[in-house]
Amino acid sequence: MPRVVVDVVLKPEISDPQGQAVLGALGRLGHDSVRGVRQGKHFVLDVEGTPDEAELTQIAETLLANPVIEDVELHLPKG
């Protein structure tokens, strides 16, 4: 079944305490090369038939993400 990936990330202007916490933990563990972390959500959808890009965009933008604070990236299967 075709697999569609949707990544949801906080808009840049919204602060991300989860990402900050990861960054803090990395710093304490000595991983200094990591300078910034943002944490978002990752959805993997199994879709029957040929994925309908318009429908999936709507799903991603209105249900999987809250447009007030989040942006989405839709990854359709290649080909």
Partner: protein
């Protein structure tokens, strides 16, 4: 006065909201999420809890339930609606109230008795308070951090739509200490703290929360 209290799968504080309505002198009416029937209620309370497990985002799935669509329609016509905690999250997700509620800045669920300042004593749900009044009610959430884009915050503030603010400490990192906001017409109110848990000496930190439920009764009478 018939005050509807909604129950979604995963609603928890519905029993508390029903009790608060009763103690305030209203008649609680149970509203089931799947129904398309507001039963001629005069106002609606969306109580706290974890509707649909709060999976995805708190309130996101409930906001798409048939009953909420009806509530949105009626609220736009002036039906007083109070969203508490998860109910607030639902109202924001449904687009009735501005902003969004996100993971607490300290990343924990936190319960505490919280001091609040009533900023607006003229909304449908806060008439029995005085502007500037300090009250103490429980707050308990893991996703209670109120956020909006800075420009939106400025607009919300300018329009006087902040109804309650955290004082003496911000429990979750909400921007500008915002604990609750209202719609432009002052009839839809959402807040993270739980006034329904502060209606009896025996079980709450105070009885300061009762005012939300008595306010709307007057509102409905005078409307």
């Amino acid at each position: 006065m018939r005050i509807g209290v909604t129950t979604f799968p995963g609603s928890l504080d519905d029993v508390d909201a029903v009790r608060a309505v009763r103690l305030a002198g209203g008649e609680p009416v149970a509203l089931w999420h799947g129904d398309h029937d507001l039963e001629d209620v005069d106002a609606v309370v969306l109580p706290g809890g974890f509707s649909y497990g709060d999976y995805l985002r708190a309130g996101a799935i409930a906001a798409r339930a048939p009953l909420v669509q009806d509530i949105v329609t009626r609220a736009r016509q002036g039906l007083p609606v109070l969203g508490i905690c998860n109910g607030f999250q639902v109202l924001c997700e449904a687009g009735l109230l501005p902003g969004a509620l996100t993971r607490n800045a300290h990343l924990h669920f936190r319960t505490r008795d919280q001091a609040l300042r009533i900023e607006r004593a003229d909304s449908a749900w806060t008439r029995d308070y005085e502007a500037g009044q300090r009250i103490v009610v429980p707050v308990k959430n893991g996703e209670g951090r109120y956020v909006a884009a800075p420009a939106d915050l400025d607009r919300i503030e300018a329009e006087g739509r902040v109804v309650v603010r955290y004082v003496e400490g911000n429990p979750n990192g909400s921007m500008r200490d915002i604990a609750g906001v209202t719609s432009a017409d002052g009839r839809v109110v959402g807040l993270m703290p739980h006034p329904e848990h502060a209606v009896e000496e025996l079980t709450g930190p105070s009885t300061d929360g009762l005012g939300f439920f008595t306010s709307v009764l007057e509102q409905v009478v005078s409307a």
